[in-house]
């Protein structure tokens, strides 16, 4: 995968398929089998295969995804999908839009916490990125997100002090954080946040929540600073 971490635009160009037609070398293996080594039978089959691939690919909606949309979608995947399984299970699929719609619906049915709009956004992103004609190897969603992050987010809490509203934070927490940090912020796949010392260290709190850390997703592209402050206020009130 040729990916230069220069700008988010480069990353997005790579999200689009570079070609509609699977190269024979990919179909037949890394050995880069020469065409003359193929039996006529195989060549006929290959032609069929290519035709099938083209038809499948043409069914795809090739609408490019805006960088901001892609960033938001990738962040949502880390935050809402990676609760139950890692993103590699998602990234290895190559599916047409209708299968993505069905898959995301199934996940929501099973408990993925997504609004209708968020689900639609994910389907749009995944069917542009992981369609049947996409290259065999794609960067991980984590890497893609890291590269798509704008050089510098707005400085951490430099926009002046925000006053969080604990009452609003409760709902935001339940929707975005609870799956990992547990009910009442008592801990789960992620650490206990109620009475966590990090709540007193606002710099570290904002750094972790905006930019993520290890398996902890980055929220900078999903939540507004006001919303994060609301969550902080609610956590601090626990």
């Amino acid at each position: 995968m040729s990916m230069r971490p220069t700008s988010s635009r480069v990353v997005l160009a790579s999200l689009k398929p570079s070609t509609d037609i699977p190269r024979p070398s990919r179909t037949l293996g890394r050995g880069g089998l020469a065409w003359r080594a193929l039996s006529p039978f195989t060549i006929v089959l290959l032609v069929i295969l290519v035709a099938v691939a083209i038809t499948a690919a043409q069914e795809e909606e090739r609408t490019a995804v805006e960088p901001a949309v892609a960033r938001k979608a990738a962040t949502l995947i880390l935050a809402r999908c990676a609760v139950c399984h890692t993103t590699d299970l998602i990234s290895q699929q190559r599916l047409p839009r209708d299968r993505w719609t069905a898959t995301v619906e199934k996940m929501v049915h099973w408990g993925a916490d997504l609004s209708k709009d968020e689900a639609a956004l994910l389907v749009q992103y995944l069917s542009a990125r992981n369609h049947p004609g996409a290259p065999d190897q794609l960067p991980s969603i984590e890497n893609e997100l890291a590269m798509a992050q704008p050089a510098r987010e707005q400085g951490v809490a430099t926009d002046g002090p925000l006053t969080g509203v604990a009452a609003k934070g409760a709902g935001l927490y339940a929707h975005n954080c609870q799956a990992c940090h547990g009910e009442g912020a008592a801990g789960g796949a992620g650490p206990k946040l109620a009475r966590n010392r990090i709540l007193k260290n606002e710099g570290a709190f904002w750094e972790t929540v905006l930019h993520g850390r290890g398996p902890m997703p980055a929220w900078g592209a999903v939540l507004s600073h006001q919303e994060i402050a609301d969550i902080h206020a609610w956590l601090a009130s626990r």
Binding site: R26, T27, L28, G29, R30, G31, G32, L33, A34, A37, L38, S39, F41, T42, V44, L45, L46, I48, L49, V52, A56, V83, C84, H85, T86, D88, L89, Q92, Q93, R94, L95, P96, D98, R99, T103, W110, G111, P132, D136, Q137, S140, A179, A189
Partner: protein, 393 residues
């Protein structure tokens, strides 16, 4: 049901006439994930990091038994906490349509006669990545299979002790593993009573002579020799005898294939769906490996072949992209349910890249097709195995 499934395959293969040659995809895409880690699994190709799904690189299949730490791992939710399945508190419960419910410890269970057998365990999705159009699911290539020696007690003996009531026709298994969120359906499966009462169906506590490892179902798992691995429940804690097949996603939707041929569509299959059960005849080339360079002259090609509960009768190899086929020679042990090792000495003459293929035939007369019939779950891939090597002067 078995008969109709065979018929389905036959019809479809005749209907296809030509198939698509889709070689295995290469190489170990996920090397980046680095599977050697806390799990102590050795060099597996990781497909999913959590829950852990990883396949065995086919070069391991030059050995008769697949070592425990090299054995493929398929998890729906990952193993339960070690304490819950390894402590003295662990019990196996037998309930439902039985005369007398049981709750037994591993020691109690080991009072029944111990049985050891060697059997292939294979994930139904093994080879899913080769289906076209592509289907959703873990994109297994060739190595979600292995051959191991299983020691345990007969499920039949346990069921006889509990006494199956006449209405009891299916035996349901539940393991101790649980999804992260309770909204996800549990992995619950059932097998028909006849398979449960088969003297070779085991509740196994040892794998290759060692206590069952956590990733493989400690302390107890089901082994249904000849059947695909979704019947081989890991971390077994509950057996329920019932009148009907288990309801729920993992029995009624997942692990089903169309009874009759279906067109590759992404919509509904347009056919009754029946549970995946028996293995199909299948073979793999373990050496040389994809992309290897071999010397002109004699080259040893070796691999394995299996056919579930019948014997493999022939393995053929083609070193000219399927134009001509030569029989391979069986080597090593022959045991029911286990795989058969084979060898073929190829006299490599022309320099350059060459495709090597293999295909097996079983005692029922079934022979591996060039590609398997498409099905929406991408199950039971058993197309010819294929790789390319380069012959150097």
């Amino acid at each position: 049901m078995t008969v109709s499934r065979r018929a389905w395959l036959k019809t479809l293969l005749q209907g296809i006439g030509v198939g698509l040659v889709v070689g295995p995809r290469f190489p170990t895409v996920d090397a980046a994930y680095g599977s050697e880690g806390s799990l102590g699994t050795g060099p597996l190709t990781v497909r999913v990091t959590r829950p852990f799904d990883a396949e065995t690189p086919v070069r391991e299949f030059t050995s008769w038994l697949t070592p425990n730490e090299r054995f493929f791992v398929r998890s729906h939710f990952g193993p339960p906490a070690a304490e819950t399945v390894q402590s003295d508190a662990w019990r196996l419960t037998v309930k439902g349509l039985v005369k007398e419910g049981l709750s037994v410890s591993l020691k109690d269970l080991q009072q029944f006669e111990a049985v050891t057998l060697t059997a292939v365990l294979q994930c139904s999705g093994n080879g899913r990545a080769h289906h076209r159009p592509k289907v959703p699911g873990v994109q297994w290539e060739r190595g979600a299979v292995g051959n191991a020696q299983w020691t345990g007690v007969r499920l039949r003996d346990v069921l006889q002790q509990a006494g199956v009531k006449p209405q009891g026709l299916h035996v349901q298994f539940q393991g101790a593993d649980r999804p992260v969120l309770a909204t996800v359906p549990l992995f619950t499966r059932s097998i028909p009573l006849a398979k449960a009462l088969h003297p070779d169906t085991l509740l196994a506590y040892e794998m290759n002579g060692r206590p069952l490892p956590l990733l493989h179902g400690a302390p107890l798992r089901v082994i249904t020799p000849g059947w695909m691995a979704e019947s081989c429940m890991k971390w077994l804690t509950e057996i329920t005898v019932r009148a009907d097949e288990t309801p729920g996603y993992y029995m009624q939707q997942a692990y089903r294939i169309p009874e009759t041929a279906v067109q590759p569509t992404s919509g509904l299959p347009g056919s009754a769906m029946v549970p995946v059960e028996q293995m199909l005849v299948k073979s793999l080339i373990a050496a040389p490996a994809e992309g290897d360079t071999v010397r002109k002259g004699p080259v040893t090609i070796q691999g394995v072949a299996w056919a579930g509960d019948v014997a493999v009768t022939q393995v053929e190899v083609s070193c000219d992209d399927g134009r001509t086929w030569e029989p391979a020679r069986f080597v090593g042990e022959e045991q029911p349910y286990a795989w058969r090792q084979w060898q073929y000495i190829w006299n490599a003459k022309s320099v350059g890249p060459t495709a090597i293929l293999c295909r097996a035939t079983d005692a029922r007369g079934e022979r591996q097709p060039v590609t398997s019939p498409w099905n929406p779950g991408g199950f039971l891939w058993s197309g010819w195995d294929r790789l390319t090597v380069t012959v150097a002067a």
